[in-house]
């Protein structure tokens, strides 16, 4: 046993897969210990906030101001507000308004803004322009207002009785705040999802749940397949006939269809993460059973098994101590693959809307489902779906690597 483990851990493929998998597993176990609180709490009022550092505006105004003279402040500000598309849109409006196209230079910011400010009228509705488009230009105009001004912004407070505004402070163009000295700063490395939930804790808890589903489904499938395979292969006779018949049936009937039917029949209310895992487990034992059965049949008439029979050992004893060790390596490999295919099955089911009940858990499939329902992929909200795909791919990739590594150790003929 010790020797075998040594050999396994000398296989580079297995070790790489093992390290990736253990890191993911540890992350999903350790992270919730340090970051307590509900991972699914809704913090954002709105959908798909971009990844970034969010600073509370009131705290920002209140905190100490630092004056920094940096060279390219104006350029950066313009670059954010006036991208290539905005410039092209402004040109479109101006051309529609009647300015000759040759007069508009979208590269020269100052000239463009000048010609825009001289001509733009938010009340004007140009022929052929939809209302939404008109509103868009009004918003664009407001956002580029004062873009080139060098004056500061005045902070005023309102007198509660008279309603008069008194100037409190003027914030200059070159003033900065230190994010570390501001009391309310929220870092959202992966933004928020469609419900306004922080993606990072949600993703980690989803990985945890998906791994759990994979483990449960994999254990059930492997155990069921192993027991049935051992019984069918060793006992033989009519027991074998029945089990073989059932395996032959389920090997061609697509398990995905069974999953859809069963999950739908259970109903949305009863479908927790564990139920889904159990259902996946009960529909995916066939391959293991078939492989174990054929291995057991080839082992059944070996000398050591016959010797054990002659010594009067019970069937259970023979199966456990004389046959099981020979199929153990295969079973471990099958278990690893079952886990990863269980995770994939859950994801596929969830995308079709047949995953675990949506309100109380997050799984990788459910996150994907929500991102697709809210068309995150078409709107370019990559943070809502890409990390999920990467997480699934990393889990399956690490499991496949471990499996290949084990295969190379246990089947020397495969080594090149």
């Amino acid at each position: 046993m010790k020797h075998m483990l040594q050999q396994v851990f000398h296989s580079p493929k297995f070790v790489v897969g093992f390290i990736i998998f253990m890191s993911i597993l540890l992350l999903s176990v350790i992270y919730p210990i340090f970051v307590t609180g509900d991972p699914l709490v809704i913090i954002g009022k709105g959908t798909f906030f971009e990844p970034g550092i969010y600073v509370n505006v009131v705290d920002g105004i209140d905190s100490q101001l630092y004056s920094l003279s940096l060279p390219d402040v104006a350029e950066k500000r313009i670059a954010l507000k006036l991208g290539a598309t905005e410039r092209a849109d402004m040109k479109e409006w101006l051309v529609a308004f009647g300015i000759p196209e040759a007069d508009i230079d979208t590269e020269d910011t100052e000239a463009l803004l000048n010609i825009w400010n001289q001509n733009y009228d938010s009340k004007l509705r140009l022929p052929g322009m939809t209302n939404a488009r008109k509103n868009y230009f009004a918003r664009l105009d407001a956002s580029i207002d004062n873009l080139l001004s060098t004056e500061g912004i005045i902070i005023a407070s309102k007198d509660p009785s008279t309603g008069a505004l008194t100037e409190e402070e003027t914030i200059g163009q070159s003033q900065y705040i230190n994010v570390n000295r501001t009391s309310n700063v929220k870092v959202l490395p992966l933004g928020t999802d469609n419900f306004g939930r922080d993606m990072v804790p949600e993703l980690i808890s989803a990985i945890g749940t998906s791994l759990k589903i994979g483990f449960i489904a994999g254990s059930i499938a492997t155990l069921l397949g192993l027991v049935l395979g051992l019984v069918a292969g060793y006992v033989g006779g009519w027991v074998d006939d029945i089990i073989l018949f059932v395996t032959n049936l389920f090997i061609v009937i697509p398990s995905f269809v069974l999953l859809i039917l069963i999950s739908y029949s259970i109903g949305q209310e009863q479908r927790g993460a564990v139920t889904v895992a159990v259902v996946i487990g009960f529909t995916s034992w066939v391959w293991t059973c078939r492989a174990v059965r054929s291995q057991v049949i080839s082992l059944r008439n070996r000398d050591h098994v016959n010797l054990s029979k002659l010594s009067g050992h019970s069937t259970a004893h023979i199966i456990i101590s004389d046959i099981l060790p020979y199929v153990a390596s295969y079973v471990v490999m099958a278990f690893i693959l079952q886990i990863s295919s269980g995770i994939l099955s859950e994801a596929g089911l969830s995308i079709l809307g047949l995953g675990p009940k949506t309100s109380d858990v997050a799984t990788l499939g459910l996150m994907m489902n929500w991102a697709m329902i809210y068309s995150a992929h078409i709107m370019g909200k990559w943070w809502a779906y890409f990390p999920v795909i990467i997480a699934i791919a990393l889990i399956t990739f690490s499991m496949n690597l471990m499996n290949t590594g084990l295969d190379l150790v246990f089947n020397p003929t495969l080594r090149d």
Binding site: N248, L249, I251, V252, I253, P254, S255, F256, V257, L258, I260, L261, I262, Y264, S265, I266, G267, L344, A347, G348, I351, L352, G353, L354, M368, M372, H377, I378, G380, W382, Y385, I389, I392, A393, T396, F397, N400, T413, L414, D416
Partner: protein, 334 residues
Amino acid sequence: MKGYFKYFRNKFFWFVVTLIFAFLLNFLLPRLMPGDPVAAITAKIAQGSTSIETVKEVYKEYEQLFGTDKPISQQFVLYVRNVFNGDFGTSFTQYPRKVSSIIGSSLGWTLALQLPAILVGWIIGNVLGALAAYVKKGWDKVVMPVAIFVNNLPAFGLAVIMLVIFAVQLKWFPTSGGYGFDLIPSFTPNFIKSVLVHYQLPFWTLVLIAIGGQAIGMRSMSIYELNADYVKYARFMGVPDGKIIGYVFRNAMLPQVTGLALALGTMVGGSLVAETIFSYPGLGSTILSAVMGSDYPLISAATLIVTMMVLAFNFLIEIIYGLIDPRIKAAQSD
């Protein structure tokens, strides 16, 4: 010839048995679950309706349709008769459309998409895998990591990535649907062109998905065959390399054919999910909308059609396999 006949008879027997069993499962599974399915359906369809009379009528209608007032054996007979008459009831979500007409219009899309995609992917995957095993240097280093990467991405993940790159970013292809939303299905050049444009992205995505698994399988099969004794012997005898390669790949090919038959169910399942990402008007999207709308008759019919499709193609592959593998004839004739 007698050997072939025996093989076909055996395969056909299994095809019929699995088909019957699939019918049974499709019939039994929803009925085994606790609760009265008709009551659940009635509750859903009569939502918002205050009149008790209407609710009662709806209940009666579905009780009759599914025959839940009769004993279970009679129900099964009724169910099979309905299926053979192509009568799957009326859809809830697209009332008063018949389920059979919805399935009929989406089945063609799925068949036209998945059948060529799986076939093309299987062929390309096998060629690439064989090349990787034979050429080894360089080629093996490029093809294999790519194939392994693609194989580890779930089908829907690959679909999303392809969609974002080629439809959203590069705008080469439309993002969703099977044809332009402003067109009505007809045999006009405009419509056919639109269908072809919409077809490309889902098609090549499914091809890519199929390539990954097949290339890996073919590579290891070919490596195994290349190291076999008969290859060494042929080399000693001075048989030209080209001829040996021909034998090797023919032998490596055979398990790939059975592999395709066995993987068909999984492939179709993955492809159905990928279809929904592209909002392709096939069975995948039909199942999705049926699940969303709790459209029980539609789900039941769609899953049955998918099963029958997989079983039929499985049977077809096994027949072809019987024709191309000479060992089948030898094994059956003694």
